[in-house]
Assembly symmetry: C2
Homo-oligomer: 307 residues x 2
Amino acid sequence: MVVRGAPLIGCTAAYGMLLAAWETKTKSHTSSLKFIKQAANKLKSARPTALALSYAVNRMLTRAETAPPSEKGSDSILQALKSEADILFQEDLQANRKMADWGATLLPNAATVITYCNTGALATSGIGTALGVIRKAFHLGKIKKVYACETRPYLQGSRLTLWELMVENIPSILITDNMAAHLMKTEKIDAVLTGADRIAANGDTANKIGTYALAIQARHHEIPFYVVAPTPTIDLHISSGEEIPIEERSPAEVTQIGSQHIAPQRAQARHPAFDVTPHKLITALITEKGILQPPDSTSIAKLNGLK
Amino acid sequence: MVVRGAPLIGCTAAYGMLLAAWETKTKSHTSSLKFIKQAANKLKSARPTALALSYAVNRMLTRAETAPPSEKGSDSILQALKSEADILFQEDLQANRKMADWGATLLPNAATVITYCNTGALATSGIGTALGVIRKAFHLGKIKKVYACETRPYLQGSRLTLWELMVENIPSILITDNMAAHLMKTEKIDAVLTGADRIAANGDTANKIGTYALAIQARHHEIPFYVVAPTPTIDLHISSGEEIPIEERSPAEVTQIGSQHIAPQRAQARHPAFDVTPHKLITALITEKGILQPPDSTSIAKLNGLK
């Protein structure tokens, strides 16, 4: 959890692959490749849910494997991986900007929005996914107020998102996750915006635990629910959300806040770190290539040029 | 928050009235009554949402006002109030048992249930409301597992409910509030059980913030949503939930856990302490007088013998 946020996990893993190559720079091309493959497996197993991780590592691995053998140890691999990591970083940076441009068009003026977890500069290489859209819309004068859900148990909302919003002087109010439905009923909420860790080929979306609950509540109140994620988040190999692996993290993150116990000793707790929102609850998926409204097998296949 | 839980607030306020009378025991009947009326207003303004508070205080006040004047200062008032407070306590105790008996009949065998906030022995004078039902059902061998929501921001679930469940050896698992929807989708959940702070004449129910979100999620998954509350919770003077006053508590309870800050300094936060669940989302209201399925104007009027 030193690095979190799917796109940033991807970028960091790319440079992790570069560091692995660096460790073997005095070795032969072959033994360097062998070590890099091991590093790839280790990196990919770090977090099971975010697709950006395996996407970035696989691209780096392919690039290493296709680098021409050089006489000076692993020099050509190093050069190739440096270039590929920089490309991945730049792609995410550009994707952030494009998603923000697309997404801001969906919001009305004087919008009050709810956002979840942290999807900003602390989760990506640029301005963010969902928070990038909010940032852009704010600079266009379209944001009146942002409700940031604290995002239990790890509190990415209160610890990271609120900080990002305050730094930018975006009017922001922290709420506990269970207050969102009450606000949807008692105030005018214009949209809910979240990121994604992995999206199935039919649009089902895995994201931080609690996202699914928000999507149900948004639907109940007929409020648009937008997922903002770059296309490397889409996993065409899985047909629906049921196949997405859900990481189960330590129950101590539920029973303690930092070192402070908030439950009785020996209390049992569950900690699924993600949940899956069925595509039918998602009003639109905002990618760097455009807006999928609604996201489903057809619109996703088209986006990827498969149909 | 030294005393919390609507029924327990009511019982405590009743004995609070008795203590007020005690303070005036050397005074005349008239000046004692005057002081008791002031105490009644002070007690009733302590918490705006729980109806049990004004219900208990008003009954005590009426009893004081109808006590025969005695020559020995406020002796007759003291006796009357001691008797009335004990009656209120016993009524709540009995109501707990009856609600548990009724409620347990609604649960299937080997039930997995979700409960919210604390509605047990730490919130009532007896075994509890929603937690009383769970306790009874467990002793009848009908409970397989209880998921207790932590109930942000005050964590009554993790701090109180889990403790009560563990003391009784009821299989219990703590979850953050935002995990409930994920469990409803991925496991077989048989019922959601909560208490209530105030119920309007049409069945709309004010309860701890987050209850409404759970009710929406239960409906989305077609899971029964049961409210367990004694009849003094029902406010026949208000026709719908929109008229129920919602207490706004300190934002510091959202931005801090105990003394530990979990949000940036100067972060703004909201803290509505309750929300209102429309009666249409409530499968049944379990009272000591019987089960209202569904709770609505008609069934509530009948229960109170008004039609």
